[in-house]
Symmetry: C2
Subunit: 419 residues, 2 copies
Amino acid sequence: MFNLPRGTRDFTPEEMEKRRYVEHHMASTIKSFGYREIQTPTFETLELFTAKSGDAIIDELYSFKDKGGRDLALRPELTAPVMRFYVEKLQMEPKPLKLFYFGNCFRYDRPQKGRYREFQQMGCELIGTSTTEALAELIALAYYAIKNTGLKNIDIRIGNLDFLNQQFKTCLSEYYPAGANEVFRLIDKEDFNELHNQFDNYGIPEEKQKKFLGFLGSNNINDLKKYIQVKDLKRYEEIISILKNDYGISKIKIEMKIARGLDYYKGLVFEIDAPILGAEKQLCGGGEYDLVEQFGGTDVSTSGFALGFDRTILALETENYTFPSYDIEVYIIPVNETTIRKSIEIAKNLRKEGILTDMDLLRRGIGKSLKYANSKNAKKVIIIGPEELEKNSVVVKDMKSGEQEIIKISNLINKLKNN
Amino acid sequence: MFNLPRGTRDFTPEEMEKRRYVEHHMASTIKSFGYREIQTPTFETLELFTAKSGDAIIDELYSFKDKGGRDLALRPELTAPVMRFYVEKLQMEPKPLKLFYFGNCFRYDRPQKGRYREFQQMGCELIGTSTTEALAELIALAYYAIKNTGLKNIDIRIGNLDFLNQQFKTCLSEYYPAGANEVFRLIDKEDFNELHNQFDNYGIPEEKQKKFLGFLGSNNINDLKKYIQVKDLKRYEEIISILKNDYGISKIKIEMKIARGLDYYKGLVFEIDAPILGAEKQLCGGGEYDLVEQFGGTDVSTSGFALGFDRTILALETENYTFPSYDIEVYIIPVNETTIRKSIEIAKNLRKEGILTDMDLLRRGIGKSLKYANSKNAKKVIIIGPEELEKNSVVVKDMKSGEQEIIKISNLINKLKNN
């Protein structure tokens, strides 16, 4: 008896059908915006991830050595691999370059509810432009990629790391010689109690604390104008205006508390939530970032987002979304051994027409076979007996109504397709 | 500058489109036979693979330890994981159970032409039946799964490990106290020179050598009758007859030299080749096997096959198959900044209709934008200028004919969909 490795999952046919359905709708939306799929290996050199996120990330990675003694790691995310690919092979492509990916990622932490050691991400990277319409399109795409799966309630929160850095500089930097990381880590965790304590310990004057926290609490453009100059606000404001007015997306929040992975994000950042999921509500994170130069490429504007595939499915389930079923359309039962070969031929011809067809492979008789067909939610059953076959006919039973009809074999496909 | 790990690959958009196309056609065929998809983790406990294939396999695996110190390995194939899943969670499902998978596998050997350290396999497992019609359907499915991708020339070779074992017993076993493995390994490699040498070294009488090699060379039922009793041949003969007559598959060869992984295969075995690929022609391998009891489950008939996904694509390319293209349908060019927001709105509406739409995000003017649209093989370009907009119209340019037309915005979707 062998067990599933801790923190990983097997997916049943029912679960896979949900996953493929969501994958299909996300990918279709992303492709309709002109993005094209790429794929990178499941593992990369360890240094790719430490260069991007620092050595601290090693503890969260599955790493191992290859035959040449080189350190490798299962990828924890896909932005670094995609940027490595871009720098190695795609820099000469016409800009902008719109790339998307769908792949499994790995995280070496303690398994907990809704967090697995292997999980899937779909994401987009936009390379070569940073106009307002480009950023607005990227955020709209992330929104529609989730929305078009059928999820009803989602919110977009849009932040700006330039504003956050600017406020840190004005209010706090003289008290934090080690830089903003300590502060931003607490903001990212939304641990405001600890932030207050830290401010008091560091001796930040009350006025400056108040100003910084006031900025963090801003949730509309007029509030923001108290802290940020109008000329600096213009781009941010325009992007939100395009999203609201041209894309017609109403559920947008201004949110200065987004402080995601400051090592390479910059400028505009955004997150998308499914509030129905409570504390683990975040489905998507993205924004503008800098990685290309660090990876040895020529500087270029880059932005992107990653969608949490598993959480999107969880959100749909929580909203009681009705996923489509992929049941057998026709189940064929040979009445006895003499009709098996004719049954095979009929099954072959139905499948050629794209009809999802299964047949009894156990010679178990009509009663048991009907029971099996029922357990598989088959829509129709075809019973193939020697007497009907002599008249080139078969019995077709509708499993919902229970009605039976004798149909000529030559008319079978026609009959099944028009039902 | 970071590099791709040795032996692995990045896939460009063009390559991914081919891969998704082949995946789609293989999966559609498999689903039309009543199979349903499952998924297992990318890594398993190391002992799962050593239990199935012996300790020798460790050298060919990527293995590492998890936080609990347990040995894990990236999966080299998917039959063992699927059987682990079956024994753990699916034994109570109605039989027969038809499962398929598509996933990446990993092999830790020296990279060479057409062999990669990470590769993809699609495969099927049939659990709970071993009737002639069940085995014939499985082989027909493997054939159609490849054939329906568009590949023209493929051969099926069908062998039988019961026959092979029987002949080994009759002719050779008294000279091989350590069992058949040594002989079968050479047969599997088709190294007949070495096999002859070994026979001579072991002092096998010429008559017995001749008989065994005569059996191995059999390529029709009449030949086989010289070695195997008619009653033992019946099932094998019937399966081939169903494939030839009921499924209409002509390219079937009787082949006693298939000696695949004898540790768990038994009975019927088969391989499918694309002869155009030369020495590396094998696209598929499968047959009946025993693993469930060894994995702690209740004994049940099992058979299956795995398709080499990468080689199928290579074979299609070698046959110069014309893969479909997934080019941009409409590229939108705002003539200047005043028409950007209207352009966004039109792009949004076209995408909503499922039209693959991209738009200029760089404000680079008509000339450069047309050049870009051309480099992306866009079918139509919509040029949005202030004068036409005043009349609620836009210019639509057909990129193939070069013709331009002024179209009312209200009539745009209609026009584009009927073209």
